[in-house]
């Protein structure tokens, strides 16, 4: 039986932490812009403009049916070939944003479609301007409903960030590659990094839960009231459109 020796890795713990931080940063940037992009595309796809809908469909299907590795190569090397040399972090973040945008668009679209027609009509009859309807009546309840699917997708994206190491972007997997080539302790390095990714996942899940609690006060109020009455809280219908493993 072989023996695992983690001791040569100890001096590298600041490097590991830096890598983890970079991964977190990259993911957060991509999630932020990707979410905005996703919302825009979701609405654009529903707009009654056939050309726009067609473009959105092509964008979404192209991203969802090709590997992230290929997407990032296409972006980074493709742009380099026409003279546009981007810093690797920016290229990776951009590729991730584009990728996340497509998945988020579909998830949000499903949420939007589940808004009962009657509510939209009621809002229109109240004279609310279109954009307000879009924001208050449609988008907010949709985000609440698809929140679990969205957070799952973001977690998947964080894992996909590892692929950015293939264009030498600075993040946790790239750090792992460097450390293991320095110390020759390949297996131990990747095990440590795996553990760090798990910790990052947990952190993100925690943040996502906290944000959810803060944003969706209605759900929290209903759940607390149900708990006090001794009943099980009602399972608000969730829109599960995430296919596990999607992103890469």
């Amino acid at each position: 039986m072989f023996s695992l020796d983690f001791s040569p890795l100890w001096p590298y713990w600041p490097t590991f932490l830096l890598g983890a931080w970079l991964t977190l940063k990259m993911t957060c940037v991509a999630v932020f812009f990707g979410l905005i992009l996703g919302m825009l595309v979701a609405f654009a796809k529903r707009a009654k403009v056939p050309v726009l809908t067609r473009i959105c469909i092509i964008y979404i299907e192209a991203v969802r049916n090709t590997p992230f590795l290929v997407q990032i190569f296409l972006l980074y090397f493709g742009l380099a070939s026409v003279g546009l040399r981007m810093p690797t972090f920016a290229a990776a973040a951009l590729a991730m944003t584009i990728n996340i945008g497509a998945y988020a668009a579909e998830i949000i679209r499903a949420g939007l479609e589940s808004v009962p027609r009657g509510q939209i009509e009621a809002a229109e009859c109240l004279g609310l301007p279109k954009w307000r309807i879009g924001w208050h009546v449609m988008l907010q309840p949709s985000i609440e409903k698809v929140y679990p699917a969205l957070t799952s997708q973001f977690l998947l994206m964080m894992q996909a960030s590892a692929i950015a190491s293939q264009i030498s972007a600075e993040e946790l997997t790239a750090v792992a590659n460097t450390v293991q080539s320095d110390t020759f302790r390949s297996l131990e390095t990747y095990i440590v990094v795996a553990a760090l990714y798990l910790v990052l996942s947990l952190i993100i899940k925690l943040i996502a839960w906290a944000v959810g609690e803060h944003l969706f006060k209605r759900r929290r109020a209903i759940r607390l009231a149900a708990k006090r009455a001794g009943k099980t809280p009602p399972d608000t219908q969730r829109v599960d459109t995430v296919i596990p493993g999607g992103a890469a």
């Binding site: 192209a62 969802r64 590997p67 590795l69 070939s81 894992q159 960030s161 293939q166 297996l187 596990p244």
Partner: protein
């Protein structure tokens, strides 16, 4: 400035698709068997087994496939011999698939109404008989869309095998690109090939899901 990308390159790319498919099918078949076992463990009344399966699923789902790939690759190499990239990639993908498929299928089984379990067990059928004859046949309808959806993900994930040197479609593209450097053309083609493989399956999964939603309403 075109030129450099010859029909020989094209043929090389197309041939590599075969290896993508081999890896995909291998991982899906083995991962499916593994996933079935994981699912059984997860729904087992034995708490330790269910917990162990949960830990397994959470752990595998919490780390990037690339890292898992490296762990398997370097883990196997510890014994001294150079493991062929196909074996390492196949094993890593199989482990990855078993966790995801196990979780998907567990969800489908748990979505089956409890009264079906009660009715069957009140007819004196054993838990295994109930699962085999009553629950799984019904759950399969529900499980098909997400399973096919995962197959799409799997095909895309085989691209990571390129990182450890396995020559599938993405690696083939890299090799060609390294010599003639026309990334837009080459990776565009590579992307298109993946699209041709994945899109029909995606549509199939989507249409099945639509049919399910209609009949459930």
């Amino acid at each position: 400035m075109s030129g450099g990308f010859t029909s020989a390159h094209l043929i090389y790319l197309v041939q590599s698709i075969g290896w993508t498919l081999v890896l995909s099918v291998l991982a899906f078949a083995l991962g499916g068997i593994g996933g079935f076992c994981v699912m059984l463990a997860r729904i087992s009344p034995r708490v330790w087994l269910s917990r162990a399966a949960l830990v397994y699923i959470e752990a595998i789902q919490g780390i990037p496939l690339l890292i898992l790939l490296f762990i398997v690759y370097f883990g196997l190499s510890v014994y001294g011999y150079q493991v062929p990239a196909l074996i390492a990639a196949g094993l890593a993908l199989m482990v990855y698939s078993s966790a995801y498929l196990g979780d998907i299928w567990r969800g489908c089984i748990e979505a089956m109404p409890k009264p079906q379990w009660e009715a069957s067990e009140c007819l004196s059928l054993t838990r295994w008989q109930t699962l085999r004859l009553v629950i799984i046949p019904q759950a399969m309808r529900l499980a098909l869309p997400p399973t096919v959806g995962f197959l799409v993900q799997l095909i895309k994930m085989t691209s990571l095998a390129s990182v450890i040197g396995f020559v599938e479609l993405t690696r083939a593209g890299q090799i060609i690109n390294n010599s003639i450097f026309q990334p837009f053309l080459i990776f565009g083609l590579v992307g298109a090939f993946y699209f041709v493989l994945c899109y029909p399956l995606s549509r199939w999964s989507q249409s099945m899901e639509n049919k399910l939603n209609v009949s459930n309403r």
